[in-house]
């Protein structure tokens, strides 16, 4: 195994899941540290400083949301939440507490690897501070320095709010961004509950950027959670 794509800390109590993830991740060039409990996970995180944390929400000892918060007290390591369907609410709270992304069980290996790649990319960007002023996704091109948006080389006129919305999604490209997060970023903290504002502007944005708004290619809705700008993995 010549390539080294990074060190992943896997906090998961079920041995079956750990085995599947171990095989998948190692065969894809990642190094792996495993922790069956939250306590163990915290300890491993401090000693091994991983590049990505995969965190299962249903841990026996520590609540996943608390764990996320405790990570965020001292590290910006990307945290990807793994949750079962019953933990829908906790998932959103974990995201709002600072987790970067989530996966709902059961998930495929491809999906997992894509999320890890996105997380790593964001982490590197953050560390180096380098930002490409031009974001390109298929026929969509956004020039962040001039605030211009092009679709199939045609400039699209966006309102200031639409643009800010798009910019936040681009900044987090590939990751899910919760409703609350978007509202706070674009409208300000006072509007954190006004989801219908967000819905209206997202609908407008979709109509401007998507060929078929009912089958969007870029602006993906994650029901009950938020939005994600899909990038080619």
């Amino acid at each position: 195994m010549a390539e080294d794509n990074g060190l992943i800390l896997l906090i998961e109590d079920e041995p079956q899941m750990r085995r599947f993830l171990r095989v998948t991740l190692q065969s894809n060039g990642y190094r792996l540290v495993e922790a069956p409990t939250g306590q163990e996970g915290l300890m491993q995180a401090t000693t091994r400083s991983p590049d990505v944390v995969l965190l299962d929400l249903g841990l026996p000892d520590i609540d996943g949301i608390d764990l996320t918060r405790r990570f965020r007290e001292w590290t910006e390591v990307p945290v990807i939440i793994i949750s079962a369907r019953e933990q829908e609410e906790d998932k959103i709270r974990a995201l709002d507490a600072g987790a970067d992304d989530y996966l709902t069980k059961p998930f495929g290996a491809g999906e997992l690897l894509a999320r890890i790649r996105v997380a790593l990319r964001h982490s590197i960007l953050r560390q180096t501070g380098q930002k490409d002023p031009v974001f390109v996704l298929d026929e969509l091109r956004v020039d962040l320095s001039t605030r211009q948006v092009f679709l199939k080389e045609m400039e699209i006129h966006l309102t200031p709010i639409e643009y800010r919305l798009l910019a936040v999604l681009i900044r987090n490209a590939g990751k899910v961004v919760t409703h609350t997060h978007l509202l706070k970023e674009v409208w300000g903290p006072v509007y954190a509950e006004q989801t219908q504002y967000l819905r209206v502007y997202m609908a407008q944005l979709r109509r401007k950027l998507e060929t078929d708004p009912a089958r969007p290619r870029f602006l993906i809705n994650e029901p009950g959670v938020g939005y994600r700008l899909r990038i080619s993995a």
Binding site: E86, P106, V200, M202, P213, A214, P216, I220, G224
Partner: protein, 895 residues
């Protein structure tokens, strides 16, 4: 008759009684003929014996009267400290019931069963305390003398000349598990008395001389022996019946005793009890209320209610009947109830009244036919207060007084006009007419006034010499007298008729209220509604506040519905209500138990159990409830109890039905799940084991195919499990709809995105017009689930490559979404059935038939509807609608 075969019902009753008794404590009574026979001593000896056997015995209340032998015996027994009660400057010590209940010994000694507790105590009588102890599973040893037995009370008064005020109901003796007769020959007792070994209270000291006479003691001893023998006999009888020894046929006697407010009724009641006990017969105490009679006085009502209660306490059934003709009613009631003997009092009124108005006694005797009639003498030594019939006291208004003055003035005027034409005596007729009018309109006072004024005016204006009150002709004195007599008789009669009408109206009102209550209760469902209706009705009729309490699962009373007619219960009132409920007896205001309460509490006794309590708080104008009112409240309570029981039973039935359904669901679910889970599992296991085989080399394409199988089947399993989980959560009501405003296209987009892999290149047309309302309110996760299930079905049941179409439109204030396919369609007549649980479509790869059921549950929870039908031109269309509602505030457009 089959010999030797025990009556199963009797055995059951016996078993029930024994069960009840096992739960309750045992009652042992040390029974004596007179004070000083050594009951307390015997009780203590028995207690020591038990103590020696290792049984937990404590002394709750033992009067040693400072006698040495007795005090000696008390040593070594644990004493429960007495409760000290301050009463008019002296300190009384009473049994501390709460402490005794808390201590919960196996046996407690409580002396003097017939004792009356100090006021402020929970119960009026000590025997009620003992009842409560027994109810709590504590056995009680107690003592009592024969003269305290209720049914023997007046016999003993006749023998000894002393009336004992403290009595105990007879059923206590029947209730006792064991009665030990402490017998001492009169000679020995007198000897002990002379030696000062008999304690006699100071109050009774004066009576001592007359009481402790040899003759008296002999009689008392005989009564005590006989009473004990009767009981033993009864026990023997029960034993024989249970064991199938049936030579003695039950007599089947039933006794009816006619009672009224007359104090003599007490004698009748006791006589009836004795006769009933002797014949082992049931007995009924009946009061006949004559609607034609004027409303009885408060005093009469109070006495009547006392008599009724006495009869009840002696084990009688009581009934109040209403009839113009008392004799006919008594006889018809007696026949209805298969009464064999009627007990009736000897008339105390003078003979001429019978001659004039007919004799009740004669009529009953004459019409009695096969029924025996017993006539019992009244005790003439006691004064017999005649019940005084009088009109309901009511203050006359000023208008009535004025009316009476005006009427006399008008009569004077009219008579003056008539004077030239008629004889002066005819003027008197005019006045009498006036008096009649006043009596019919106004109260007693104005009527009397108008009578006097009329006579005076007649004298003054129409009797020569005119304009003086002197009378020249002696004939007019007679006229005055007749006029006065006629006027007062008319006035009294009119008033009486009015009072009767009032009484009838009141009765009418209550009957009507009762009727309307029962009618309303029939149409109501739910305990909450029933109790509030009952409370409202009773509150209306009695102008008081009423609350209905029902027990929760733990048997603790709660108020299911409050309203303006109810009243709030504080801790104390609540405990009184709880007591009434637990003991199935009336308690509170106007009763013997916890009479310090503000309200009266009547248990709601239904056929099988007590279902609650009704609390009645008198309005500001009344202080307490008379017997009649309590009876009416009880009939309301009965109606309510039956209705509540009905509601409870139907609720229970519903729950058990639900349980059965859940059970059935679980079974179907298990069988479905086990089948449907196994199919994909088999494929996965098969594929995986093939891949794991070491000695077989598979081609790359074969490997891929196996891996794909594993993946697809795992997906399938996931789908099944999700549906099962959702179904159980929907069934348990655990899913709540969290609506959010959002564009409809968003959710469609999310689902298509999620299913993109399975959709592949299936032609799919989405038709979401631009003019759809921007935001629709729904739960995104649940509606996503609906769309997923529908789309999943379409993919599963329609052939590869056939087109699908999703469209939405607005119709009648709802947003309608359609998913149409060009598959084989839905079998004829199955359009509704496919939404039922565990109904699945034909064809392969189906789920377990829950998908559509879940869809319907979710859509219904949103207030919408979902249907399926076949499309013209082939294929099926699934259609659901969601209510649109008002659009929420939208952000102001930019720019």
């Amino acid at each position: 008759m089959e010999e030797g075969r025990p009556d199963p019902e009797l055995i059951l009753a016996q078993l029930r009684m024994e069960e009840e008794k096992n739960r309750e404590g045992q009652l042992k009574i040390f029974f004596g003929a007179a004070p000083g026979v050594g009951k307390t001593y015997a009780m203590l000896e028995a207690a020591r014996q038990k103590l020696a056997d290792g049984i937990d015995v404590v002394a709750g209340m033992v009067e040693t009267h400072k006698r040495k032998e007795t005090e000696e015996l008390l040593k070594g027994l644990e004493l429960i400290p007495r409760r000290q009660v301050e009463y008019r400057g002296t300190t009384l010590s009473e049994l501390d019931l709460d402490r005794a209940l808390e201590r919960k010994p196996a046996i407690i000694l409580v002396d003097e069963l017939a004792h009356t507790n100090a006021t402020e105590s929970r119960h009026k009588k000590r025997w009620q305390d003992i009842y409560e102890l027994l109810g709590a599973g504590i056995s009680v040893y107690t003592t009592v003398n024969v003269q305290h037995i209720e049914s023997l009370n007046d016999v003993i008064a006749q023998i000894t000349g002393i009336r004992v005020r403290e009595t105990i109901p007879d059923f206590l003796l029947d209730r006792a598990d064991e009665i030990e007769l402490i017998d001492l020959p009169p000679g020995d007792l007198l000897q002990r008395l002379r030696e000062g070994k008999v304690y006699v209270s100071e109050l009774a000291a004066r009576a001592k001389e007359s009481f402790f006479r040899r003759g008296n003691l002999l009689a008392l001893r005989e009564l005590a022996l006989r009473r004990t023998a009767e009981r033993v006999d009864a026990q023997m009888q029960t034993y024989r019946e249970v064991k199938g020894v049936r030579e003695v046929w039950p007599a089947g006697e039933r006794i009816l005793v006619c009672i009224g407010p007359n104090p003599l009724s007490i004698r009748l009641i006791r006589a009836a009890k004795r006769m009933a006990a002797g014949l082992r017969a049931e007995w009924i105490a009946v009061h006949i209320e004559a609607p034609s009679k004027v409303k009885p006085s408060e005093e009469d009502l109070r006495r009547l209610s006392e008599h009724m209660r006495l009869a009840e306490s002696l084990g009688a059934e009581t009934a109040t009947l209403s009839s113009h003709k008392a004799s006919e009613k008594i006889l018809s009631y007696a026949r209805d109830r298969n009464v064999t003997k009627i007990i009736i009092g000897k008339p105390t009124h003078p003979l001429w009244k019978d001659r004039l108005f007919g004799s009740l006694l004669d009529e009953v005797v004459r019409g009695s036919g096969k029924i025996d009639v017993y006539v019992i003498t009244g005790d003439t030594s006691e004064p017999v207060p005649r019940p005084v019939a009088r009109a309901a006291p009511q203050g006359a208004s000023i208008a009535e007084w004025l009316l009476s003055l005006a009427s006399v003035a008008a009569c004077t005027g009219l008579a003056a006009l008539m004077r030239p034409l008629f004889n002066p005596v005819d003027a008197a007729m005019v006045y009498i007419l006036g008096i009649m009018v006043i009596a019919s309109k106004a109260g007693k006072g104005p009527s009397v006034l108008s009578t006097f004024l009329s006579v005076a005016s007649f004298d003054f204006f129409f009797v020569p010499p005119f304009y003086t009150f002197s009378v020249s002709d002696a004939r007019y004195v007679l006229t005055f007298f007749v006029m006065f007599a006629v006027a007062s008789v008319i006035s009294r009669l009119t008033l009486r008729v009015r009072a009767q009408a009032d009484a009838a109206r009141q009765r009418e009102r209550r009957t009507a209220a009762l009727y309307s209550l029962s009618r309303k209760l029939v149409h109501e469902r739910g305990i909450e509604n029933l109790s509030s209706i009952a409370a409202r009705h009773i509150s209306d009729v009695f102008s008081s506040h009423v609350v209905v309490l029902v027990p929760d699962e733990g048997g603790k009373l709660t108020v299911p519905a409050t309203g303006p007619e109810t009243f709030a219960l504080d801790q104390k009132e609540m405990s009184v209500a709880q007591w009434a409920f637990d003991h199935r007896q009336r308690a509170g205001l106007g009763t013997d138990t916890l009479s310090g309460a503000k309200a009266l509490y009547i248990p709601l006794g239904a056929a099988s159990k007590t279902v609650g309590v009704i609390g009645v708080l008198p309005g500001p104008t009344q202080e307490f409830f008379d017997q009649e009112q309590v009876h009416v409240v009880e009939s309301f309570a009965n109606q309510t109890a039956m209705a509540i029981e009905r509601a409870m039973v139907s609720e229970e039935a519903q729950q058990s039905l639900l349980k059965a359904e859940t059970e059935e669901l679980r079974n179907t679910l298990l069988s479905s799940v086990s089948h449907d889970l196994r199919t994909p599992l088999a494929a996965i296991t098969g594929a995986a084991t093939t891949l794991m085989q070491k000695d077989v080399t598979l081609k790359a394409s074969e490997q891929l195919e196996l891996v794909q199988t594993i993946h697809e089947e795992a997906e399938h399993l996931n789908q099944i499990i999700r549906n099962v989980l959702d179904m159980t959560r929907l069934d348990a009501g655990a899913i709540t709809v969290k609506k959010e405003w959002q564009p409809f296209e968003e959710i469609v987009g999310a689902v298509l995105n999620r299913l993109s892999e399975r959709l592949g290149d299936r032609p799919l047309k989405t038709n979401l017009p631009e003019d759809l309302p921007l935001l629709v309110s729904f739960d995104p996760l649940l509606i996503e689930q609906v769309l997923m299930n529908l789309l999943d079905n379409s993919l599963k049941y329609t052939p590869e490559g056939t087109p699908l179409e999703i469209s939405a439109f607005v119709k009648d204030g709802e947003i309608v979404m359609e998913l149409a396919d060009r598959g084989p369609g839905i079998p004829e007549g199955e359009e509704e059935r496919i939404f039922e649980k565990f109904v699945r479509g034909s064809g392969s790869g189906g789920g377990i038939g829950l998908g559509l059921t879940i869809c319907r549950a979710i859509i219904t929870a949103h207030g919408g509807s979902i249907t399926a039908e076949n499309r013209p031109g082939g294929g099926a269309v699934f259609r659901f609608s969601l209510p649109l509602g008002e659009q929420p505030p939208l952000p102001e457009p930019e720019d």
